[in-house]
Symmetry: D3
């Protein structure tokens, strides 16, 4: 019995979209308001999906309390109430776009998950803009 | 033209997570609050996705009123305002975890659906915990 | 500057609606499915609104972390993953209707809140049924 | 790095489900209330998912402002506050079921999207009825 | 014990905003897209709030199944999948703005509700536009 | 006919809670994570409620497009993708708590609204924390 079990977690953070190899003018033009040098912020919602074989003894794919703790320890406790651009080392050389945040979250969680599981993350930056990454 | 058409239904039920082959201590430790011998409960949301070829005459994949009636008759009318552990025979030998409830709902609906359709169910146990099953 | 500050908390519980002074037939007829002797359950959402004068020094009406802790300690930790009818003493002599749960939550919170504040609670039993109580 | 980036847009429209090759009686029986000759309407929600390789320079899959503008110009500005059956040429020979609206939206967006991207659309007609199309 | 108990119901309808005493040009200018002569439509959400004294025997303010039936029979069954401007007599002489729809719904429900209750209705026309009426 | 008409708008911003008259230690202890010197951020949702007499000619309390434009010009365009603490003059001497943001939004809108209307604002900082202000 193959199922997917998912957990929703949230974090609130500031960031700035910026490519240091571009001129200020190009950054301003390309990233628009998101390039504000004083930062802006979002309530991010992270949905983590794990797929695999259900354990016939417990009836669980994975204990969602365990998954919640991995997500919090590896991702949301590190990002919550932080400035992603300044406070989080993962983004010192990586522009904190939603795509890159999802990529970093996927890799941080994957390392602490039993390798038998497939992993997929969805990251909502606003109610109307969201991205997905599954390790490809 | 291959499309997926989906219907959302809900039911409110009590349950207890418990493996009768484990000791009380192991059940309490593993399932935590969900093992409460007096039960607890949830507002479950069931999303049923059907995939196949659109009927060119009607422009429908499947009449969603028909799908709604299958879901209600086979699943939600049987589970709603019930104690899944005590009142629903499907769970007399199967621990009513979200994974197993999704599995049972899928099989109950599948039996009454035209076999030409693929079927996928998502079950939300809370706003932050949900599972998916598609018959594998 | 008079403001209202609010906090949303949740709990998942089983219950049974029943008046022990009525016959079984009258209970079944009046409460319908909610009278199931084996219980059913809900994901309850509790919105707690506090009204008063903003503190000019901090810019807070009340620290919402403090309010969250009062709600959890006095209400949601006591009700979550419980059977309200069996496990929670407040409902041994009080039918656990949404109205009464809101009433009990209001009184439990009020006792631990600075008396200078007005208090209002909203309790969602489902997405479509909810009640409000403000101590009158 | 393959990701999916998505944008949510909305439009409010009237429509009537009707097959002109069927008798009035058959239309009324099959489509029920949706066949009302005076039309009815919905708040439609359109979720547009684009999949491809992230641009390493910008960290974007696609600028979601660009995607928003394509969706608005090609779909939602044309459908919003319109009668799909009368005002929108795409539906003069195509019954405006949710399946067909999703199909039309997909083709209208696809034509203006870089061909390197895969495209998937979800259309909510109500909170409980929705369809998906991905060009197969 | 004074409480408010509320029920959420929905209906999907077409309408046109138009004042027959104004010129076509004035209607078009004032109501904009909402004046489309071929109509447009919405998924309306109606929240009905009833306030009064809880019945000490049942613990209910009002049986929400009874309130649901009043709302459906008096309002939503009459408005659902209809063209408010053409099919619903209440709007033959009253422009079906959200304000007027809320007013009509309030009066239709009030007539069938025990006069001891206060009544308040909220009508969402979209997720971002809504109105309230309480009989003043 | 007295009604309330409401409009929902959103903005995404960074901020830092800090009282410059307190020591760093006191700020850190009182505001906790919200005192992060590098800022954090939120997706704010602002609900603006206007109450008054419906215009019998149009059937509108107020044209919600007009209200939307006031909110955007006076509030959300000024706050969106900004750092409230650094970029918005209103908060140079006022700690940008949710309470104070609601207060500033109310005053900014009030000045541009016909004085015959009563005004109430609700500001969601997260899905679970929100405040209200109505000019008292």
């Amino acid at each position: 019995m193959i199922v997917t079990a998912s957990r929703v977690e949230r974090f609130n953070a500031a960031h700035r979209l910026h490519n240091p190899e571009w001129s200020d003018a190009k950054n301003a033009e390309f990233f628009g308001l998101c390039n504000n040098k004083n930062f802006h912020g979002h309530n991010y919602t992270l949905i983590v999906k794990v797929t695999g074989e259900v354990d016939p003894e417990s009836g669980y794919l994975i204990d969602l309390k365990v998954l919640k703790n991995i997500i919090r320890k590896q991702v949301t406790d590190r990002f919550d109430h932080k400035n992603l651009s300044l406070d989080v080392e993962d983004f010192h050389k990586l522009n904190p776009t939603a795509e890159h945040i999802a990529y970093v979250a996927w890799h941080r969680i994957k390392k602490h998950l039993d390798p038998k599981f497939a992993l997929h993350v969805t990251l909502y930056e606003t109610e109307r803009n969201f991205v997905e990454y599954e390790g490809r």
